[in-house]
Amino acid sequence: MEAGTATAPRARRTAPPWLAGLLPLLILGAAIAVFVAFDAPGLGERNGVPVEELVVERTVLHPGEIELVVRNDGPDPVAVRQAIVNDAFVGFSQSDPQIDRLRGGKVTIDYPWIEGQAYAIALVTSTGGTVDAAVDVAAETPANDVGFFGLMALIGLYVGVIPVAIGMLWLPWIRRIDPRYVQFLLALTLGLLAFLGIDAALEGTEIAATGAQAFGGAALVFLGAGAAYLALVGVDGWLRGRRTREESEGAGPWRLSFLVALGIGLHNLGEGLAIGSAYAIGSLALGTALVVGFALHNTTEGLAIVAPVARAGEAAGPARLGRLIGLGALAGLPAVLGAFVGALAYNPSLAAFMFGLGAGAIAQVIVQIAPGVRDKAGRLLHPLAVGGLLTGLVLMYTTGLLVSV
């Protein structure tokens, strides 16, 4: 109250603090209103021809029909007027005669496409510009029925949940081995994670390049990575606070395992997305080679989850089955979700962001695990650790070859 009475005489003459904070915003609003009302005074007419940028986000094939989901990525409206497939004008219909900035649209082309062939599509705009799209290998886009959802769930289980669960079965073994080897395994985990992180970031950047750049393009990967990193730091901090209050010291390793599982889960979300969308556009072979490859690839992820627990030994507390299942589900199930999203609503910008999430989450997990690799002298990159790191990278690289046929 003292402060209140002290400032009371001035309050009559000056505005309250909240108004002072609002003032620049009000002035900005007024300035914009005036600027718009007078149609950008002094700037004159727009210079140059309209910039037409239309991005094909998704290609859907049905019998006798090719559907392009497009988005206006440029500053000016785009009007599609004709469509050309393999050097021939073709009949088509579209959702909107003109697509405004950042708006999406759908162009449905009547075309007797033949399975297994490639098609070059050009949408001719009102100014004569062309927007190109390619169907590399024509195959019907699967219908979104129950069977399809079942299939996607099965794929997610095969490539996500089951391999991770199998990998976690190493837990009893690594709890018994010499702690020095556990250090090696942790370093190996770091190697695995580093590979996944780099892989996610690169793939995200690659996908971002195909999407609408107005949404940020490759920046979305970094935004996603930053968001995931910070979110995990937050979750970690919250868990630490809770644990110190409620649980014993031994909870630390499980907290670490949880974070590893969460990070890997976010990564598998992106992986599922890639699988689902590849399936949707017919460029995915659901063969045994792919599933086996993913199984080997992702089994190592299971190892990464349980490694932090092993380091703590018996102090980590009992390995309750429910807890293990929970961790496995956290790491693996997002692959199922990703597969759904990828097959149903694939969008390059969204996919890039999700890959970014995975990369950021993994980066944070690496930071979390790294201290556990230090030897007694406090060195991080001691020979054993370097050996583990390299082994992890090589393991991921070689198993990765199986799925990048």
């Binding site: 021809v49 910039v51 037409e52 940028e53 094909v56 998704r58 290609t59 019998p63 006798g64 029909e65 440029g74 009007a79 007027r81 004709q82 050309i84 050097d87 021939a88 004008f89 073709v90 009949g91 009547d110 075309y111 007797p112 399975e115 297994g116 490639a118 070059a120 050009a122 001719v124 705009t125 009102s126 100014t127 004569g128 510009g129 062309t130 190109d132 799209a133 390619a134 590399d136 195959a139 019907e140 699967p142 219908a143 793939e203 690659e206 996908i207 195909t210 992986e271 969308s277 590849a278 556009i281 017919g282 460029s283 995915l284 072979a285 063969g287 792919l290 390059p348 799925v403 990048s404």
Partner: protein
């Protein structure tokens, strides 16, 4: 960056970019049996019948009709292919010392035209139309072609024919390029008789021609040719996205113009087609008639046909006269036998009536 979408159609397959290539991790192809079966079912007899034109060669319910969507309004465009096809400009005729003098006035004009429904093209025109007016004279006439450059760019008029270098309409020889707002009268004797053309010769040549500065130039032999229903067809193309390749092909500019509105001809009447290839960027174009054959007079400089055929190939700037009679009534197709050009607009019909 003013036109980021100008990747050419033909280069597209090579790059294999786009959303479909976004997933290298999982890129593998296999025969898609399930999809194929579904496809076969959908394309079967049940359903979709409304779309099928009946008895088409493919099993697909749709997409057999390859053409553009909508139509071009000639009133908005300022010229009509249906009129251009029979429009001959014989100039203002006077006599000087017993000699026929034909005076023409041609104005170059920048103008946006519609080359396919909804697709605009910033053309350069002679007298506001593409192709420019078909100029016609008789061998031995004196021609005075006053060229007024109302365009924002320098242009010329270069005639094919036998004439003095000063009247050849090229930048390298005076008077050279005719600057915007300036004019020049090209003067020469109409010879030799035959089917010729004129076009702008300003550099860069391909640009000045492909933007629309060309027209047909007919010199009749003194004794004339047999009475006939005479048609002018300039085979042209348009590079609408500036990738040095044509996106749209046509005769007399508008894609599928005579496909949608056939050219009416009378049965058994002699039809004479003045066929000129002014297509830029593609070395060859061709003309093919269905259900009929024609006498072909290359360049029209001889009165005897060289060939009796149903298909001719013309290089850039090549031309020839086709003479034929239609023995049956009904719709008779004609198109480039370069199938790509046909599918991209160079396809039409004659409607033969009694």
């Amino acid at each position: 960056m003013s036109r980021p979408t100008k990747i050419s159609r033909r280069k597209l397959l090579g790059t294999a970019a786009g959303a479909t290539a976004a997933l290298p991790l999982l890129h593998e192809t296999v025969p898609h049996r399930v999809a194929h079966d579904q496809f076969a079912r959908a394309a079967g007899t049940d359903g979709h019948a409304g779309h099928s034109a009946g008895g088409t060669a493919t099993a697909h319910p749709k997409g057999t009709q390859r053409r553009t969507i909508g139509s071009v309004d000639p009133r908005v465009n300022g010229f009509d292919p249906a009129e251009i096809v029979r429009d001959f400009d014989r100039g203002t005729v006077t006599q000087e010392g017993g000699r026929t003098v034909r005076t023409f006035e041609i104005v170059a004009e920048d103008r946006e035209i519609e080359v396919a429904p909804g697709v605009k093209f910033a053309a350069w025109t002679y007298n506001g139309r593409v192709p420019g007016p078909t100029l016609r004279a008789t061998e031995g006439d004196l021609l005075r072609v006053k060229f007024v450059n109302g365009s924002g760019h320098p242009h010329t008029m270069h005639f094919h024919g036998i004439h003095a270098p000063r009247h050849d309409g090229i930048p390298e020889v005076a008077p050279g390029d005719i600057a915007p707002g300036k004019s020049f009268t090209y003067e020469f004797e109409a010879r030799p008789f035959g089917l010729h053309l004129y076009h702008c010769h300003t550099s860069p040549l391909a640009e000045h021609i492909s933007k629309g500065l060309y027209g047909t130039f007919v010199i009749d032999p003194k004794q004339g040719r047999p009475e006939a229903d005479e048609l002018v067809m300039m085979m042209n193309g348009f590079d609408t996205n500036f990738d040095a390749e044509n996106e749209i092909y046509a005769v007399n500019t508008v894609a599928f113009a005579y496909h949608d509105r056939p050219i009416q001809v009378k049965r058994d009447e002699l039809v004479r087609i003045y066929l000129v290839n002014i297509t830029e960027f593609d070395p060859l174009n061709s003309f093919h008639i269905h259900g009929n054959f024609f006498d072909y007079f290359p360049t029209g400089t001889k009165l005897e046909p060289r060939d009796f055929t149903d298909t001719v190939i013309q290089g850039q700037g090549e031309r020839g006269i086709c003479e034929l009679r239609f023995p049956f009534t009904g719709k008779v197709m004609f198109h480039a036998h370069v199938s790509e050009f046909a599918d991209l607009g160079w396809m039409g019909f004659f409607e033969v009536v009694d």
